[in-house]
Symmetry: C2
Subunit: 113 residues, 2 copies
Amino acid sequence: MERELLKGNTPTMILAVLCQGPLHGYAIAREIERRSDNQLKFKEGTLYPALHALEYDGWIKGQWETTSQGRKRKVYTITQAGHAELKRRHHAWTEFANVMAQVIGGEPHGQQG
Amino acid sequence: MERELLKGNTPTMILAVLCQGPLHGYAIAREIERRSDNQLKFKEGTLYPALHALEYDGWIKGQWETTSQGRKRKVYTITQAGHAELKRRHHAWTEFANVMAQVIGGEPHGQQG
DNA sequence: TTATTATACGTCGTAATCCAATGCATAGCA
DNA sequence: TGCTATGCATTGGATTACGACGTATAATAA
């Protein structure tokens, strides 16, 4: 999958996943990979900074928990503001996808300018 | 229009426009704006470096010409390799757009991990 | 015991990209 | 003389993805 195409969409995908329920970082990455039929690979260098930024902006909230196996992990929950942000980003993506279709799929036009 | 969403798609749009016929830089920018119903604004800092990179990669070819008004401009033509590259990029974009739809538009799933 | 894999968190540096700001030059118009 | 449009270009800042690396626990295999 083309690296640059992903740019700007990582937070949107994370919010979309968390919209279905709280998950910890590692599970979020796995869930995005699952939803994309393994076409997307979510790396640590992408995931964790993105989560921290989302929490800093108040769109998600992290809570440390310990599993029965004694392993610590940080479970993230989407906030009210996060839901609004997701809606806004979802809309922006749809708009952009439409524009792209218009530009790269556009019909022929008069040659020179 | 969201700035980050554009990332990586600029060369694709330029190739798509040139696919319809040769144009000089300034006209390419105006054409992309026209096709996007002015939702996209193409700035010089984005346009010219992108054109130079495309020419360096051999996907477009620039040719200086002088108009009847005596104004010089560089007219770009898409190459054979450029057509192939456009096809590849067009495909990559479609794939990515589908993946995005799957991830952010996905149906509900079992909560916790 | 030792090695490997999976889980789970994180940081840092590099590369890629968009764009605001700035610059140069020509042309038409008020 | 100023303003706007055309037409080219560079530079530096900001944002982003990710490879590489580091830490730690647990299960599985040799």
